[in-house]
């Protein structure tokens, strides 16, 4: 006999999929945000769904959300530090315009 949690297990796939395809339209239909704000709220909704799902299924540790950070590994990130530094230096050469972001 299936427990209630087993019976509704399909929801852990169904809810993110429904949100992926229809979430933006659902938020837009509320008519309180548009454009970039709508995109930000939609993305943060996804973050909330993932974290709530991980907490509900007790997988926070398995997927690395509640583990202690090993700061001694920061030195291994040097290629990313170089890239990010380069990008920010280049931003000074291409100021943000009203037409762009």
């Amino acid at each position: 006999m299936k427990t209630r949690i087993q019976r509704f297990k399909f929801l852990n796939i169904a809810i993110p999929l429904v949100y992926l395809f229809f979430g933006k339209q659902m938020i837009a239909s509320l008519d309180f945000v548009t454009g970039l704000e709508l995109l930000i709220i939609y993305k943060w909704g996804f973050v909330f769904l993932f974290i709530a799902g991980a907490a509900h299924f007790n997988k926070m540790t398995e997927i690395g959300l509640s583990n202690e950070v090993n700061t001694s590994l920061i030195k291994l990130y040097w290629p990313f530090v170089l890239l990010i530094t380069y990008q920010f230096f280049k931003i000074a050469a291409f100021p943000i315009t009203a037409n762009g972001f």
Binding site: I40, K43, I63, G64, V69, I74, F94, F101
Partner: protein, 145 residues
């Protein structure tokens, strides 16, 4: 606008890291390290092919795919060395943020030689560093038997 782009960059990084370096690596945990890394990076790269829908030149999309594969490979290796996602999330958010500000401000849709070099050189460095880390450094997260 700059603050809003920061919020967007952080949200995108959280979503992608939780899914690609959290959930996917957990799903593939019984496979070997190189399989975990390859599958995670390949799926991460293929998702970036959706950029075609944003009106980018096909060569830019191909370059995005290669760069996403290189970034995905290195982030997956770094995640397997650490039990936490926090450092990879912060790194990914900063990359997104600088990319939104820099490439978003330029708004280029066609591939140019400087743009090609700006993508290809870091990608090769990421892949070379990934290879070094994979061969030399020990993973902390052990695969399940």
């Amino acid at each position: 606008m700059v603050f809003k782009l920061g919020l967007l960059a952080l949200a995108v990084a959280l979503i992608e890291e939780i899914f690609f370096r959290g959930i996917l690596l957990y799903w593939f945990r019984k496979r070997s390290y190189w399989q975990q890394i390859f599958y995670s990076a390949t799926i991460f790269s293929l998702v970036h092919s959706l950029n075609l829908l944003s009106g980018f030149d096909i060569f830019i999309v191909a370059l995005h795919l290669f760069a996403a594969f290189a970034i995905g490979t290195l982030l997956a290796i770094l995640r397997l060395k650490d039990k936490s996602l926090i450092l990879v999330i912060i790194t990914h958010a900063l990359i997104n943020y600088s990319d939104f500000l820099f490439n978003g401000a330029r708004g280029e849709r066609l591939l140019t030689i400087p743009m090609f070099l700006e993508w290809i050189v870091p990608s090769i460095i990421f892949l070379a560093w990934s290879l070094y880390l994979y061969r030399k450094e020990k993973m902390i997260t052990e695969p399940e038997s």
